[in-house]
């Protein structure tokens, strides 16, 4: 297992390198630069700025300087937010995004697994159709529609919760977390239903019933562990997608998280900030997928015993 983890971490290095290279090439290929602005700036100033940030060097030189700095753990200064380094910006925005993501994933897991399990117990009946239609709606509704709808209903009409903000007024974290979590809850519901249906049709569930166990015990003790495997494999990409995709929700609810910087950086041609956040998110994706794989192996004793030979 240790060997497996080490191997996967080593595999991450070329992946990150490819991500950096592609991102670097793309942002440099895009028209404009960090200091293009609507109002005219004297060419001398631009030149001085370019020299200061090595932007007058050929692209490959910039690329290698950037790589050299990254190895030292230095993501460089932001081009737009003068005086702040990329590391500082990530450090400021990330806790907020993480907190939002954590609430959202908890909501998604709770809603999704319960809906999926309930649906799987009586497939093709009303008990299956209702949660699954809700899940379908959740998948179809984009967050930028669901978010404002929730604001309209819960904040404006019912006046139960604040319209926006993050930690200013009690309860202002509920709507964003729900909005972000709901789409993932829908996916998780569908995956749990599928996984549970698969497990519930197995012979050992019949054995459990023949022992005289209650349905609730059969579900929690015998079926859930195996039935959750599709959900666990989904959690890796889901967590990563949730964090990097939170910018819509952050924008709707005016949350000072990482997602907004990510998008703004692209518009501003803030080269270092784009690269920094991309590398950061890419590392997170790799890490979450690795974690999901480890949990999958840990959940299944049969895999545990040949996790070495498989890789």
């Amino acid at each position: 297992m240790l060997k497996f983890i080490l191997k996967r971490l080593l595999q991450a290095i070329p992946v990150l390198l490819i991500v950096i290279t592609i991102t670097f090439a793309l942002i440099h290929a895009a028209p404009g630069g960090p200091f293009s602005a609507e109002r005219a700036v004297p060419p001398e100033v631009i030149e001085a700025l370019n020299a200061q940030y090595n932007l007058d060097d050929p692209a490959y030189v910039q690329y290698f300087i950037y790589l050299k700095n990254i190895v030292r753990g230095d993501f460089g200064p932001s081009f737009k937010y003068t005086g702040r380094s990329v590391t500082e910006i990530i450090a400021a925005g990330m806790p907020v995004t993480f907190e939002l993501g954590f609430y959202a994933i908890m909501i998604a897991l709770t809603l999704g697994i319960s809906a999926g399990v309930i649906a799987s117990l009586k497939p093709n009946t009303i008990q299956d159709y209702i949660p699954m239609s809700l899940a379908m709606t959740g998948i179809c509704l984009p967050t930028f529609v669901l978010g404002p709808m929730m604001v309209l209903v819960f904040a404006i009409w019912l006046d139960w919760l604040p319209v926006s903000g993050w930690g200013y007024i009690p309860g202002d974290k509920i709507l964003p977390a729900l909005t972000l979590g709901f789409a993932y809850a829908a996916y998780i519901a569908r995956l749990s239903r599928g996984g549970m249906l698969e497990i519930l049709s197995q012979d050992f569930i019949r054995t459990a019933r023949a022992k005289g166990l209650k349905t609730a015990t059969i579900v929690t003790r015998h079926a859930l562990r195996g039935g959750m495997q599709p959900v666990v494999s989904f959690m890796g990409p889901a967590l990563a997608g949730l964090l990097s995709g939170s910018f819509v929700v952050e924008t709707i609810f005016q949350i000072p998280g990482m997602g907004r910087y990510f998008v703004q950086a692209a518009f501003n041609r803030d080269y270092t900030l784009i690269l920094g956040t991309t590398v950061f998110f890419a590392s997170l994706i790799i890490l979450f997928n690795l974690l999901a794989d480890i949990v999958t192996v840990w959940l299944n004793p049969r895999l545990r015993d040949n996790s070495n030979s498989g890789n």
Binding site: K3, D203, F204, A208, K211, L213, T217, P301, D305
Partner: protein, 553 residues
């Protein structure tokens, strides 16, 4: 009053494709300590009948239309769910056919074993664990204190079935329902499990309902028998009545369907000693790598010799039986010949050509000469291809035939295996198991192979169908003068069909010779043990015989 009395039981399945009458009026009585055998082929309703007693049938579509099952004066069929839960797994326990899938792979054995105790009585976990260890001891699992913390996949099939039995009997039930408990096991393991059930039954005075398709198994253990066919009881009586005073035609058909040992093999064998062998395996060795298992293991490789220095020679037209228990390497030999696994050393020649060293195009062309029929006709045909597509594909791999000639060939193949030519546009799921195996045989014969390997071709089929498929195979290999290697764990089938037999044990051939010779005068201890384990469909012989236990060294 009897312990369990089932009266006029009718069960129907209300499916989308219409009504299926699975059980039509079943009656039986079961007394304390008695064994009732229920015999029938797949679809006869024997399992449905027993599942209904414990409320294990999926409903819908299943519905109990009428009848009663009185257990200690209470009707099991019309009891509230909570009340039935108290009985199931406590007073009436059940063991199932496939021990490989009937235990929860995610839970330790201990947790599964104590469950019946903890839910049916107010017993502490420690006490339950002690009882579970005692139960494991009783079913003959060595080192139960250590192995109670193992997961099911660390156990062999026979050991898992022992665990299932321990789990069923840990609450000391009055009735044990055993649904084909030995069908998935090797013949020697089957003998051990049957002896174990018998021993525990006598010791604890348990009544057993034994469901099986195998009259040999039933003959040895049942006091009385009911024979079921398509939901009806066609005959019932004491074991001796059923076997010695058979009255119903269907029972007779079942009894006659068992290939009786001693029938003269049809293929004649001229063993010219000087003759160059038509097919030979010379010192074949096939190894598998096994890696070190544990969670934080070091991944060190170990070599498992699946086939260990095996040599065989066949003359043209001969049929060789390859017998042995699961894991003995018999299927690995087949895969080695078919070039489906890489061999480690040795040489395989067919009609003067060394097929073990062929590569690329040459191998592809030669493949037509050696073909294989697989065990499971349900899984070995592509469900998305019509019969015509499957057969035409086989024909097209070797030569380009024009469309009308192709159709002729496919129709000929179908006629050869006894299927109507109109059926070629159908998909596999529209055929029965026996018919599918016929298609699989047709597919193997499409390229007119010289050598046919049949890997347990009838073990997934009902007995009456088995006989038909075996006769078909025999007819075809004679007609086309095909040399055949017939792999089976069923010794009576091998005796019926083959000229010579090779007995395998742990990758090696321990005995090899003329089939009749081996069956009449087995020399090797292992062969003797294997032969003594075969259940015989004759209650008198079955009750009186002794089994030879083989222990290597």
């Amino acid at each position: 009053m009897s312990l369990l009395s089932v009266k006029d039981l009718h069960i129907h399945f209300h499916t989308r494709n219409g009504l299926v009458k699975a059980v039509n009026g079943v009656n039986f009585e079961l007394n304390k300590g008695e064994t009732l055998g229920i015999v029938g082929e797949s679809g006869s309703g024997k399992t449905v009948c027993c599942y209904s007693l414990l409320g294990l049938l999926p409903s819908p579509p299943a519905r109990i239309e009428s009848g009663s099952a009185s257990f200690e004066g209470k009707d099991l069929l019309h009891m509230p769910e909570e009340e039935l839960r108290d009985i199931r797994g406590n007073r009436i326990a059940m063991i199932f056919q496939d021990p490989m899938t009937s235990l929860n792979p995610y839970m330790k054995l201990g947790a599964q074993l104590i469950e019946p105790l903890t839910i049916h009585s107010d017993i502490s976990k420690d006490e339950a664990r002690k009882r579970a260890i005692a139960a494991m001891q009783e079913v003959g699992i060595p080192e139960p204190e250590r192995r109670i913390d193992c997961y099911p996949h660390e156990f062999s099939g026979g050991m898992r079935q022992r665990v299932m039995i321990a789990m069923a009997l840990v609450t000391e039930p009055d009735i044990l329902i055993a649904d084909e408990p030995t069908t998935a096991l090797d013949v020697t393991v089957q003998a051990q499990i049957l002896d174990l059930i018998k021993k525990l039954q006598d010791k604890h005075d348990i009544a057993v309902i034994f469901i099986s398709h195998d009259l040999g198994v039933i003959a040895g253990c049942a006091d009385k028998i009911i024979v079921m066919h398509q939901g009806d009881i066609v005959e019932s009586g004491t074991t001796d009545e059923i076997f010695y005073k058979t009255s119903h035609d269907y029972t007779k058909k079942l009894l006659n369907a068992i290939p009786t040992s001693g029938k003269p093999a049809a293929a004649s064998l001229d063993t010219n000693k000087g003759q160059e062998p038509f097919f030979s395996i010379d010192q074949l060795q096939t190894n598998y790598d096994i890696r070190d298992g544990s969670f934080f293991g070091n991944g060190k490789k170990e070599i498992h010799k699946a086939v260990d220095n095996v040599s065989l020679e066949l003359v043209e037209g001969e049929t060789l039986g390859l017998v042995g228990e699961s894991g003995c390497g018999k299927s690995t030999i087949a895969k080695s010949i078919m070039r489906l696994v890489n061999i480690s050393s040795g040489k395989i020649t067919l009609d003067g050509k060394t097929i073990s060293s062929l590569e690329g195009e040459e191998l592809k062309r030669a493949r037509g000469d050696f073909q294989m029929v697989f065990q499971d006709p349900y899984a070995s045909l592509n469900p998305r291809m019509t019969v015509y597509d499957s057969l035409a594909e086989a024909l097209n791999t070797q030569s380009n035939i024009d469309k009308s000639a192709l159709l002729d060939r496919v129709v000929n193949l179908m006629t050869d295996v006894g299927l109507p030519a109109q059926a070629i546009r159908k998909y596999p799921h529209e055929f029965s198991g026996g018919q599918r195996q016929r298609i699989a045989i047709a597919r193997a014969l499409a390229l007119q192979p010289r050598l046919l390997i049949a890997d347990e071709p009838v073990s997934a089929l009902d007995v009456t169908i088995q006989a038909q498929i075996l006769d078909l195979l025999l007819k075809l290999i004679q007609k086309y003068r095909i040399t055949m290697i017939f792999i089976s764990h069923d010794l009576s089938v091998v005796r019926y069909l083959t000229d010579r037999t090779a007995v395998m044990y742990q990758g090696k051939i321990v005995e090899y010779g003329e089939t009749e010779e081996i069956f009449n005068k087995p020399k090797h201890k292992y062969t003797q043990a294997l032969l003594s384990a075969i259940p015989i469909a004759d209650p008198d012989k079955e009750r009186s015989r002794e089994r030879i236990i083989f222990s290597p060294e």
